[in-house]
């Protein structure tokens, strides 16, 4: 009698352990019987500033097989012909599906993905005759599609998530797509939307038995939020066309808002090629290309700013009392020392003439006088303090640092040299204004990105402030993006006047359009590795600027010859919505400049 009671008590305590204390069985039961089928949301669309659709979703197809239903007379050869594969590939794919290590959810009763990422054309012939193949299904998912073959660097691409993504964010599962680079990556959270789930019951053989609790636990998918960019796709198109066959970049901004109108880097690619099943092959081709197309030169490449830096130099020297608007310096042309002048003009030169003619000796003198204004002092300390003052002022134009709180991908900081770097090379007392004279004309240790150049142009256009460049128009009004230079607008007006003269009488005069009140500054950057880089910054109209542009063409030669026309076309396009000077357009689009890597 006692033993009967004992046995029942043992059983009841075992039941208590299994059902009340140990919770692991419950979880196992759910993974056993409940199939949580994901409903994929459609990804947010991307529009340009004029509401032009840039990125959309296009359907792709997956061919699935239910092995259990294939048993009855499956014509493998005909099936392979429909999909354009050979029987060897068929066998390989089948054994990959059967491999439970790689395909955990394998069941002969549920649809298994046989081929993925097929286009409508790929499955068209199969679809017509699919009734002949029992167990074959065609499933639809979405991929990215692009209206224009432009802006690949900005838009980025969508690809399969990596294991690292899955580990970092529980939202993802193997096989999911996410933004891999560009805006698709920056705005992944809002573009992707929210996956939904349909809870389905399946039996021990994996056969679907209907919805669980009549769909009470199902969750609808939430469509991703659309993205409205500041980009003007016409302007972007023009920029990319002008850069065709050259290496370089074009950045255009709306000065008052910091909105990026165009941001082009060349060489580039058609975003369409990184979609679908050819993505990995194409990506590898891009990765191994010696001209480095994946490198976004507009935000990642750095160059000395060259003569375009003279605009900043003017403002800073005026602000810190190195010169006054009436200061003049003599220029001996090519015979000048310590820096030669590369242009022929009268002497002495005033500030406006110096900007117009890009006179090197003037800016050397102004830089020297600004730094030496209070002498060198004990231990060179006063001079070094002046240098730091200069450096701080230059940094206020957004140089030497990455733009914060913005939606651009990889950026370079560029470089404005630090006092301690010169101290290290020359000793604290060992360097003077003459030592760092190349900085006066934007050469030497100073490096900027094309984006920083465009922002510099915007700062000059705004007469003393800039809004951090960005692509998403929602960011435009956020207060933390506004940066003041705290310098007198009188100096900016003066420099703008000088830049206007550049276009009317100076180095940019061949590409001027009078009615647009263009302002600009050319630059030719010495390049120890080959031909000089051509640089140009500008904005227009002078009094109420609507666009600021920076252009860099690598290994092209004079800024006036190769960069100025591109900037001029950009301004014309943006302000008049048309290009009248077809000859300039044709010349730029058709010109091909070899990249050093191709010369070998």
């Amino acid at each position: 009698m006692g033993s009967v009671v004992l046995v029942v008590l043992v059983f009841i305590s075992r039941l208590f352990w299994l059902q009340v204390i140990d919770q692991s069985q419950k979880a196992k039961a759910d993974s056993n019987a409940l199939l949580r089928q994901v409903i994929y949301p459609s990804r947010g669309l991307i529009y340009d500033r004029n509401g032009e659709l840039l990125v959309f979703n296009q359907p792709i197809y997956e061919v699935t097989l239910i092995f259990q239903e294939m048993r009855h007379g499956f014509d493998t050869i005909a099936f392979c012909q429909c999909l354009g594969i050979d029987s060897l590939e068929f066998e390989q794919r089948i054994s990959a599906i059967r491999d439970r290590k790689r395909n955990r959810g394998f069941s002969t009763y549920t649809p298994q993905i046989f081929m993925a990422q097929l286009s409508k054309q790929d499955v068209a012939s199969l679809r017509e005759v699919s009734y002949k193949f029992p167990g074959v299904g065609i499933r639809k998912r979405t991929l990215r599609g692009y209206t224009y073959p432009y802006a690949a660097h900005i838009l980025g691409s969508v690809g399969e998530v990596s294991q690292a993504d899955i580990d970092r964010d529980k939202y993802y599962q193997a096989g999911d797509y996410s933004g891999r680079d560009g805006l698709e990556r920056t705005y992944e959270q809002r573009l992707r939307g929210e996956k939904g789930v349909e809870v389905i019951m399946r039996d021990s053989r994996g056969r679907i038995q209907g919805s669980y609790h009549d769909g009470a636990e199902d969750v609808d998918a939430i469509t991703g939020t659309d993205l409205h960019l500041s980009l003007d796709i016409r302007l972007q198109q023009l920029a990319e066309e002008c850069l065709h066959g050259k290496v370089g970049s074009v950045v255009a901004l709306e000065p008052a808002t910091g909105e990026i109108l165009a941001l082009a880097s060349s060489p580039t690619w058609n975003p369409e090629i990184l979609v679908g099943k050819q993505r990995s092959t194409q990506y590898n081709i891009l990765l191994n290309d010696p001209t480095k197309p994946l490198f976004n030169r507009a935000t990642q490449a750095t160059y000395p700013p060259g003569s375009t830096f003279k605009t900043i130099q003017s403002v800073v020297c005026l602000q810190e009392g190195g010169i006054t608007p009436r200061t003049t310096y003599p220029c001996s042309g090519p015979g000048s020392s310590p820096i030669k002048c590369t242009h022929h003009h009268g002497s002495p030169v005033s500030l406006l003439n110096a900007i117009e003619q890009s006179c090197n000796p003037y800016f050397w003198c102004a830089f020297r006088d600004m730094l030496q204004k209070e002498g060198y002092g004990d231990n060179n300390a006063v001079f070094r303090k002046r240098f730091n003052l200069w450096r701080d002022d230059v940094m206020k134009f957004g140089l030497g640092q990455r733009f914060e709180n913005t939606d651009l991908g990889e950026q370079s900081a560029g470089k404005i040299p630090l006092e301690r770097e010169f101290n290290r090379t020359y000793g604290e007392k060992g360097w003077k204004a003459i030592t760092i004279r190349s900085l006066s004309i934007g050469q030497g240790e100073i490096l900027v990105t094309p984006l920083q150049l465009a922002n510099q142009a915007a700062t000059l256009a705004n007469r003393g402030y800039y809004i951090t460049p960005h692509l998403n128009t929602e960011l435009t009004n956020s207060p933390e993006l506004r940066h003041e230079t705290d310098m007198d607008s009188t100096w900016f007006n003066l420099v703008a006047q000088g830049m206007h003269q550049v276009m009317t009488a100076g180095t940019g005069r061949w590409y001027n359009i009078d009615s647009l009140q263009m302002c600009g500054k050319t630059g030719t950057v010495q390049n120890p590795h080959g031909k000089d880089h051509a640089i140009f910054i500008g904005f227009a109209p002078m009094d109420a600027p609507k666009i600021a542009v920076a252009v860099v063409v690598e290994n092209a030669g004079f800024g006036a010859t190769w960069a100025a026309p591109v900037a001029s076309l950009m301004i014309e396009q943006y302000l008049t919505d048309t290009i009248r000077r077809k000859h300039i357009y044709n010349k730029m689009v058709n010109a091909v400049l070899e990249h050093p890597s191709e010369q070998q």
Partner: protein, 484 residues
């Protein structure tokens, strides 16, 4: 004897418990075989409908048996027994192979398993033999005939029909033997042999952390030592000898450990030497004190040693692979959730997912979606666990407990040996079925396919259990009138 006295003498409590279990069982057969294209529980095309039909037939047959005088069975018991042995023998010729077992006879659309009814017929024959007025268990000779009566059908079912589960149920008659004078030492001996079997299989291959030899052998020797010490203390009340024995063992092992510092010692050998010393001591005591009972202990020890050796051989050579795998999985030697352990693993998942209150009738996903094999027959208890939760399954176990306790109570109140022995057989059979079946479903015992009485789907078992019970109730009802 009037009909009224029979009706008034019937134990209605037992009948009520029987109805509760059988109807709840039928509900769960409906639950377990329920699919999403729902049909009525009375529809004969599904298992719940058939189970209801079986239940009806069983009730009619049971009722008929209630009106047959108890003496009738006693008179025809041997005849029935002989007839049924013949039926069991010819069954494999009429049967077709059902999962390796040759125990099912096809009767048109129905299938019948004679082994189920064999339990009742054996119980009747045993009761008749042991219920004779002059029968006493005085020595082991008195148990020979009952053992043969029991072993004959069991042997036929196990070897001839390959139906191990049903044959094992015959072990439940040992409970009755124990109640009727079989020495407790036999049960102790049997249990210790079972323990030795498990230990030598489970730990036989595990090496000792020191020296050489296996953990299993050491544990087996410790069990033997415990049995001997228990005998010396409880039966002989000889504290001095017990201490001497323990000292011998401790000294032997200590010596082994010390020698092990320099040379590797085989501790299997050390254990054997210690045991031989003990046996020599026993022989000395037998000769000196003339306590021949102690020869029994010596015999037991020698037998146990041979048994341990035999276990390994039987396990590896005699058992069929699927039986070996089941034992290995249960003992934790193999982990195979998709293979041999699949049933139990899925059963535990189903029960565990029921939680405290269960998922509700017809709402269990594990059983509905057929993750648990045999879920309406041998594994039906997990449907209860999943759909009715801890409350339902513990409640059902308590109902079974009350039922079996009631049967023991009925057995105790019988005045003649025939009824008492039969009643104990019945109680033993129900207890054994409950223990093995629920123990298996809860993963505590190896998978042995026997049904849960009145609960599992199946006509043969439903009818045989009902008849088994009906005869008992009739005998119980007659206990007052028989002596008037």
């Amino acid at each position: 004897m009037t009909r009224n006295s029979i009706i008034s003498g019937i134990d209605w409590w037992t009948i009520a418990l029987f109805l509760v279990i059988a109807l709840f069982g039928w509900l769960n057969v409906y639950g377990a075989s329920y699919t999403f294209d729902q049909t009525s529980p009375f529809d004969l095309s599904n298992r719940a409908g058939k189970q209801f039909l079986w239940f009806g037939i069983a009730c009619v047959l049971g009722l008929a048996v209630l009106f047959i005088e108890g003496r009738t069975h006693e008179v025809i018991a041997y005849l029935l027994y002989a007839f049924w042995i013949v039926v069991l023998l010819i069954t494999p010729f009429l049967a077709h192979d059902t999962k390796g077992s040759m125990s099912w006879i096809d009767l048109g659309p129905l299938k019948f398993q004679p082994a189920e009814l064999a339990k009742m017929i054996t119980a009747l024959a045993l009761a008749k033999y042991m219920g004779r007025f002059d029968y006493r268990v005085r020595s082991w000779r008195d148990l020979v005939v009952p053992f043969v009566l029991l072993a004959l059908p069991a042997g036929i079912i196990m070897i001839w029909q390959s139906e191990t589960g049903s044959a094992l149920v015959f072990a439940s008659f040992l409970i009755m033997f124990y109640r009727f004078g079989m020495s407790g030492y036999v049960l102790t001996g049997g249990l210790s042999f079972a323990l030795l079997f498990i230990l030598s299989i489970r730990f036989g291959e595990v090496p000792l952390p020191w020296g050489s030899g296996s953990v299993g052998v050491l544990l087996c020797y410790l069990v033997l030592l415990a049995v001997i010490v228990g005998f010396m203390l409880l039966h002989e009340r000889d504290l001095k000898s017990t201490l001497i024995l323990c000292c011998v063992v401790i000294l032997a092992y200590a010596a082994g450990l010390i020698v092990n510092i320099w040379w590797t010692v085989n501790f299997n050998l050390v254990s054997l030497i210690a045991l031989v010393l003990i046996l020599l001591y026993f022989t000395g005591v037998v000769l000196y004190r003339r306590r021949f009972i102690m020869l029994l202990v010596t015999g037991y020890t020698v037998l146990a040693l041979l048994f341990c050796e035999a276990c390994t051989i039987v396990f590896n050579k005699v058992l069929q692979p699927h039986q070996r795998t089941r034992i290995e999985v249960l003992l934790g030697l193999k982990d195979d959730p998709a293979g041999a352990g699949y049933n139990v693993n899925q059963s535990l998942i189903a029960i565990g997912s029921g939680q405290f209150t269960g998922k509700g009738f017809l709402k269990g996903t594990q059983t509905k979606l057929r993750f648990v094999p045999e879920q309406d027959t041998d594994f039906i208890f997990c449907t209860v666990g999943e759909e009715w939760g801890f409350l339902g399954s513990a409640g059902l176990l308590i109902v079974y407990l009350i039922f079996i306790l009631r049967l023991i109570y009925i057995a105790e109140r019988q005045r003649d040996n025939y009824s008492r022995i039969y009643a104990y057989c019945v109680a033993g059979i129900f207890f054994f079925h409950l223990t093995i079946n629920v123990g298996m479903v809860l993963g505590l015992l190896p998978v042995i396919g026997i049904p849960l009485p009145f609960f599992s789907y199946g006509g043969s078992s439903m009818i045989s259990f009902t008849l088994l019970l009906a005869i008992l109730l009739r005998l119980d009802a007659e206990r007052l009138s028989k002596w008037q």
